[in-house]
């Protein structure tokens, strides 16, 4: 199909494989190997977007990742739509649908372009000076308007069907950038046998060699050298060569993050392979060879579609075989654009060159171009451009060394290549915290002092000549691999050198000139100057005030120009203004790549017990507790939470209930000093606990507040079976290990987590003993032989068990510990054996209600990290004779021993027994006091108690124990309700049932 600007030959595209994609609904024809940008240009399309603020028509500026303007929404199918893609890096393929952004109703006719007329008002920071009156208008009028105008493309609206992968990798040498320097580095490093990873952001390694058809290396065409080099690297097992892979983040200790784009370029995605892969590389040494970015020239209306970077013109010509126009003007302040100009001329295009440098300051390139038949205007500035949606001419004028402009002349053209010099890509170096140095000769910041094991080579270090790049890259690669091998290369000399210019000289009224620095954020030279005038003199302030360099390209093309203008305004040397610190990522990275497989079921492990499947098949509803999923309640058909829990609660107290307590943390504490260790870790005394007996243990942090609790059984003189709360298991083990290893290494104690070795089946209720009696062997279950708070070993259903006679319900109860893989069988056996006794499975909600009826605390519910044992009425647990345990000293701090004001655990009996208080409700003495009210405390637990046939609640209330019988007022969603302070125990207050 017609591609009017496709050259008849050349380029690395595959002309045998035509492709077609859509741009704003129209088919665009191109070839395999095109980017979206090159295919659009092949079809004569430059105008591809509207700018952020002024909605000015914008085109394609660049060929690479530094593109600020040509941002498109790309649609790869349902759920695969995303905004702000740089046309210059999206590989064109059939089936893509691309759209321009930030305009209404269309790219061609955009209402927002009215902003361009208002540009005298919309200068940098204007919004800080207005939109303040009337005050209410900010939220309702101004801000919604600003927000609607801002933003670029539209965010995706559907869940993403693509897969993302992660890969940790290690290597001796990581090389970033597979241009000449990077390739030479890889050659040198690979020879040593060290593990090398070479990553390049492009689809094809080669860097500048891919668009340098006339270059020769070591006497042969650069293209053949490239091919041989790649073949050499490919053949080595110690080399991983990654294309389409951007090193975007350089973190501590040589941890470098790369984003590999795996499938976006493929016409048919398998649906299985990941879209992107995050490489987290830990490298011994890093070689940074990421090249350099070209600077645009800053002149009035330098943002017209059709105005490109000069090197990008060269790339489009040579790599993609497309001409950005037929009549080209190159505007430059340096030599490199002459190479582009010459190649354009050789491609048959009309070429004129405008060079700011005086003839005397130029090199032989001028003569060469004139010889080729091009007009070269040295000592000329650019003062403007013609056209609107496409450049039609460049306005130039001679300028003397005094900066005064002579008579203007319009050079008609349909494309412009501009070059304001080069900026080494020091982003990763800066991210690695290396220190930059300003190089006057290069007018650029270059790497100076490394902070990590890294070195730069080639253009990213300010070395532009091809032979020098190769030699420098080789040396860097060798050194990184621990070799001192060096070699020289012979190569075609590269035209380098430029005259730094911030804003092109002009004789126009500076107040009216709109010369763009940051193309995407619509920041002009004038804006930068205004910021400086208003006192924003640090470059960071200027960036933040004007937003220059803050767009999606992060200022790759604009930073040096902005910095130079600030320095000029302040009349300071450029390094005195400073450079901005570069932060990851180098180019934007999808959240998906960063998240990788950690989605859906792999977002966070879901821990389940061996009874989980049984609970599911018996209709349980589940709740999340830490990483665990626990059975919350077991509704029968037609039951809601309350009905199910009421039934379960009654069943436990009247018959027997079965509960999965497997998630409780368990720690085997073993060793000759185990009892002494327990003495130091818990408030309780342990030395005299007999083997086979249990004790409720309370553990504090060193600050005196409750950390955890749980029943502990003494298995033998040297072994304790410790249980912890479900959420506290890991914390408690870590807490114990810390003290054991770092404070008391002399204690001979070993800790092993057995949380998942033992599943725990809690069987609670008056008939519990009858249910397990026929299943248990080797244990005398009689109350005399096996009293409350005892532990015995034996078997149940033939499975070894540690059988605890303990109760968190206040009923006769057992907690049957069995090896986890046998737990389901034992559970099912018990459930079957319990049928005649009315056995009822219950969940965590019933567990909570039953323990609240008895006033047992739950750490994390009655306590919140600011609660002492005495606060919850557990001071009696504290061993009186121990001189020390963790947290003891803090219990003597002035505010902890204060005789008044501590919040204490009490019960609340609502005036209306049907009223169930809200957990978290606040408590006051006088509901009619003015706001802010004095709050006495809050409700920690509150339930309907089926066994008390009324509501019950636990609360922490200031001086609560002295308020017994007093009426307090508790918040409800609509106001207050009344309740009486009671002891925090509501059922079986004498506690006889557990001893049944």
């Amino acid at each position: 199909m017609a591609q009017p600007f496709r050259l008849s030959r050349g380029g690395r595209i595959d002309r045998s494989r035509p492709i077609v994609f859509e741009f704003n609904g129209k088919p665009i024809h191109g070839y395999q190997g095109d980017t979206v940008a090159s295919a659009l240009i092949a079809n004569g399309i430059h105008h591809v977007g509207r700018s952020f603020k002024y909605h000015r028509p914008r085109g394609i500026l660049s060929h690479g990742p530094d593109e600020p303007s040509a941002l498109l929404s790309v649609d790869r199918g349902p759920g695969r739509v995303d905004p702000n893609n740089r046309a210059s890096v999206v590989e064109a393929r059939s089936g893509l649908r691309t759209h321009s952004q930030n305009h209404w109703p269309s790219l061609e006719y955009d209402i927002g372009a009215v902003n361009d007329l208002l540009s005298p008002v919309f200068v940098a920071g204007f919004y800080y000076k207005t939109f303040m009156w009337p005050r209410k208008f900010w939220d309702k009028v101004y801000e919604p308007f600003i927000r609607a105008a801002a933003g670029l493309g539209k965010a995706p609206t559907q869940a993403d069907p693509d897969r993302y992968a992660n890969r940790h990798a290690h290597c001796d040498v990581l090389i970033v950038g597979a241009g000449p320097a990077g390739l030479a580095a890889a050659l040198a490093a690979a020879k040593t046998g060290k593990r090398v990873i070479l990553a390049d952001e492009g689809p094809e390694p080669g860097g500048s060699l891919l668009h340098d058809p006339n270059a020769e290396i070591d006497g042969r065409p650069a293209a053949s050298w490239l091919e041989e080099t790649l073949a050499d690297l490919d053949g080595r097992e110690n080399v991983i060569l990654l294309s389409r892979t951007t090193a975007f983040g350089y973190y501590n200790h040589n941890h470098v993050a790369l984003a590999e784009r795996v499938t976006d370029h493929l016409p048919t995605a398998s649906g299985q392979a990941p879209r992107e892969r995050l490489w987290q590389v830990r490298a011994g040494e890093v070689v940074l060879a990421g090249g350099a970015h070209e600077r645009p020239l800053v002149f009035a209306d330098n943002d017209r579609p059709g105005i490109l970077l000069a090197e990008s013109v060269r790339v489009f010509l040579n790599r993609y075989g497309v001409a950005p126009g037929r009549t080209l003007v190159f505007a430059t302040s340096g030599a490199s654009a002459y190479t582009a100009a010459l190649e354009a001329k050789q491609a048959g295009l009309a070429v004129t060159i405008v060079d700011l440098r005086l003839e005397a300051d130029c090199g032989p390139e001028v003569a060469r171009l004139r010889q080729a038949g091009c007009e070269v205007l040295t000592g000329h500035t650019v003062v403007g451009s013609k056209g609107r949606k496409r450049v039609t001419g460049l306005i130039v004028a001679p300028v003397g060394s005094d900066g005064r402009c002579g008579g203007r002349r319009v050079l008609p053209c349909d494309a412009v290549g501009m070059s304001g010099g080069w900026t080494p890509a020091v982003h990763l170096f800066s991210q690695s915290r290396g220190k930059l140095r300003y190089d006057d000769r290069l007018d650029a910041f270059v790497p100076n002092i490394s902070a990590q094991s890294e070195r730069s080579a080639g253009a990213s270090k300010g070395t532009y000549d091809l032979a020098d790049c190769l030699a420098e890259g080789f040396a860097a690669g060798a050194a990184a691999a621990g070799s001192d091998e060096r070699r020289t290369f012979s190569a075609t000399p590269t035209l380098t050198g430029f005259q730094p210019v911030r804003v092109m000289p002009t004789d126009d009224d500076p107040k009216k000139v709109r010369a763009f620095i940051d193309f995407q954020n619509d920041v002009t030279a004038k804006d930068i100057k205004l910021a400086v005038r208003e006192g924003f003199q640090s470059i960071e302030h200027v960036k933040r005030y004007t937003t220059t360099g803050m767009a999606t390209d992060q200022g790759k093309t604009s930073n040096m120009n902005a910095l130079g203008i600030v320095a000029g305004q302040l009349d300071k040397p450029l390094p005195a203004v400073g450079t901005t610190t570069f932060r990851p990522p180098y180019t934007p990275v999808t959240f998906g790549a960063l998240v990788g497989p950690a989605r859906h079921a792999l977002f966070d492990p879901i821990r389940t017990t061996p009874i989980h499947g049984w609970a599911q098949s018996h209709g349980a509803t589940f709740e999340n507790v830490a990483l665990w999923r626990r059975a919350w309640y077991f509704p029968k058909p037609g039951e809601d939470l309350h009905a199910a829990v009421a039934r379960e609660c009654k069943a436990v107290r009247e018959h027997v209930g079965i509960f999965d307590a497997s998630t409780l943390g368990k720690i085997e504490v073993v060793g000759p000093d185990a009892a002494e260790f327990m003495n130091r870790m818990y408030v309780n005394p342990w030395a005299k606990l007999a083997n086979g007996r249990c004790r409720y243990g309370l553990m504090l942090k060193e600050d005196g507040y409750i950390l955890d609790d749980g029943v502990v059984a003494r298995v033998s003189d040297t072994c304790f079976h410790v249980t912890t709360t479900t959420g506290g298991a890991a914390r408690v083990l870590a807490h114990m290990e810390d003290y054991l290893q770092t404070e008391w290494p002399d204690l001979q104690v070993f800790l092993t987590s057995t949380t998942e070795q033992w599943a725990v089946i809690a069987l609670q209720g008056p008939k519990a003993r009858q249910v397990i009696e026929p299943l248990v062997e080797g244990i005398d279950l009689s109350p005399q032989a096996f009293p409350h708070m005892a532990m015995r070993t034996g078997t149940i259903c033939g499975v070894p068990t540690r059988l605890f006679r303990v109760s968190f319900t206040g009923e006769l109860g057992f907690e049957i510990n069995v090896p986890t893989d046998h737990a389901l069988a034992v559970w099912e056996a018990i459930f079957a054996a319990g049928q005649p006794h009315g056995i009822t499975p219950y969940g965590t909600e019933t567990m909570h209600v039953l323990r609240a009826e008895k006033g047992y605390i739950i750490v994390g519910q009655e306590t919140d990290g600011t609660v002492t044992p005495d606060d919850v009425g557990l001071a009696g647990m504290i061993a009186k004779t121990k001189t020390d345990f963790v947290g003891k000293r803090s219990l003597a701090r002035p505010d902890v021993i204060a005789t008044t004001g501590r919040k204490q655990l009490i019960g609340l009996i609502t005036e209306d027994p049907k009223t169930v208080l809200d957990e978290g409700a606040q408590i006051v003495a006088d509901p009619n006091q003015p706001i802010p009210m004095r709050m006495l405390g809050h409700v920690t637990s509150s339930y309907w108690s089926p066994n008390c046939n009324r509501s019950i609640a636990l609360a922490l209330v200031a001086d609560g124990r002295s308020l017994m019988g007093r009426t307090l007022h508790i918040t409800t969603p609509d106001g207050f309700t009344r309740a009486t302070v009671s002891e925090p125990v509501f059922f079986d207050t004498t506690g006889e049932r557990v001893n049944a």
């Binding site: 695969r80 204007f126 933003g151 973190y251 941890h255 950690a598 999340n624 709360t725 809050h938």
Partner: protein, 417 residues
């Protein structure tokens, strides 16, 4: 001070904005000030502003070692709310929130305080209990905060996934409608401009290298990279660098400085109407006026002054964001950065006296200092002006770590059972 208004803006636009002067001066330091404030972040600048406006003390210098607002002020995710649990914290943050509500007008500088609401999501029963405790406490303290069902959460924040398929399904949320965000840089600039106009010297690139004490031990001035500067009183407001500055006066602090990371996405058209916080999965997200999704990540586990954290902290946060908002996986991270946050043992700030006479400190704001900026400056100005704390900052003493009277919001909110 040239007043900002639509009129002045329009008239300037007629002449190319050449008439705007400096928003604050760049004075040479004087030999002595009544008050020297160490640290030119939002808190320090606000302190200077209120010293001048409320207390009439204008012989004040703010010393900043880099550029003003360059620390945590310009690096945070700008969430502003006051729905704290304890009376002490609620009083402090609500004081700040009330000042936020008139701040643009007060400063004649649009700080873009946007009361779009902060929604805190509950993902488990413990969260529900904890959030209701906050809602009730706030009500009795006169602070707006309401409990929303999960359906109401979805209505308030349409991108939210409230389906049961989430790893930690949304059970509901606590919404403070008066809460929101502001433009962080503008806060520093607005206070600087306001303070400067009243005579306060804002001195950038001036690093404090020592605190001079006389024979009696009281502080009399600061050594700086630009020479000695005498001071009647010194207020240290140096955030992550507080330990370093205080050690110059021989004072050890209960502080540790951690890297805290944040990131933004590429800008997109409005898609996220409010602020959502999920402590359970560690996700904090809003959308800036410019269109970027602003996402707060966590702190690293070790102390560091590098303003750089590990990638795993970022990925952990994005895991959570994409779990709650699965449509955002194709969005791209544009920029990430780190701040240095100073954290106290109870995660509440210290605002008040120190063992050294004439030396005062305002620090320990941890990950949440931005929201307090106006209130913090206001009460610290009172403390510096009178030598005694304001009733609002009276509980936030350095001494509370001795007595055990801690103000532990985090402990009250974050313990799982």
């Amino acid at each position: 001070m040239r007043r900002f208004s639509l009129t002045s803006l329009l008239s300037e636009s007629m002449r190319g904005h050449t008439g705007w002067g400096r928003q604050w001066r760049a004075p040479e330091p004087k030999p002595r000030y009544d008050v020297v404030i160490v640290g030119g972040g939002g808190h320090g600048l606000a302190t200077a502003y209120y010293l001048a406006t409320v207390h009439g003390i204008t012989n004040v210098a703010v010393l900043e070692k880099g550029w003003i607002g360059g620390g945590n002020t310009g690096r945070n995710t700008t969430i502003i709310r006051s729905n704290y649990l304890y009376d002490e914290s609620a009083g402090l943050y609500e004081h700040a929130l009330k000042l936020w509500e008139g701040l643009s007008q007060e400063l004649n500088y649009n700080v873009m305080f946007s009361q779009r609401g902060v929604l805190m999501l509950a993902h488990n029963i413990h969260d529900v209990q904890s959030f209701k405790r906050h809602v009730y406490a706030n009500r009795l303290n006169g602070i707006d905060n309401e409990w929303l069902s999960k359906e109401e959460c979805k209505e308030f924040c349409p991108p939210l996934d409230i389906g049961g398929g989430l790893r930690y399904p949304v059970l509901g949320g606590a919404l403070q409608r008066r809460a929101g965000t502001a433009r962080h840089d503008a806060v520093a600039w607005g206070y600087a401009r306001g303070a400067d106009a009243r005579g306060v010297d804002i001195i950038q690139n001036c690093e404090v290298t020592g605190i001079r004490r006389d024979a009696s031990g009281k502080a009399v001035g600061v050594e700086t990279s630009r020479g000695f500067i005498g001071a009647g009183r010194i207020g240290v407001v140096a955030a992550g660098h507080t330990s370093t500055v205080m050690s110059m006066a021989g004072v050890s602090m209960p502080l540790e400085s951690y890297p805290l990371q944040a990131l933004v996405s590429e800008p997109v058209k409005p898609v996220f109407p409010c602020v959502v916080m999920s402590n359970a999965v560690h996700a904090y997200i809003s959308q800036s006026d410019k269109g970027e999704l602003v996402i707060g990540a966590g702190t690293d586990q070790y102390t560091s002054y590098s303003q750089q954290g590990g990638l795993h902290i970022t990925t952990h946060t994005l895991d959570a964001i994409c779990e709650l908002f699965p449509q955002f996986t194709r969005m791209r991270m544009l920029r990430s950065w780190g701040g240095i946050v100073d954290v106290t043992p109870d995660r509440s700030p210290i605002i008040g006296k120190t063992p050294v006479q004439n030396l005062f400190v305002n620090c320990g704001w941890g990950t949440g200092g931005f929201k307090a900026t106006p209130g913090s400056g206001h009460v610290f100005a009172h403390t510096l002006a009178t030598g005694e704390p304001h009733t609002i900052n009276a509980p936030f003493t350095l001494d509370r770590f001795r007595t055990g009277r801690l103000i532990d919001e985090a402990a009250a909110a974050a313990v799982a059972h």
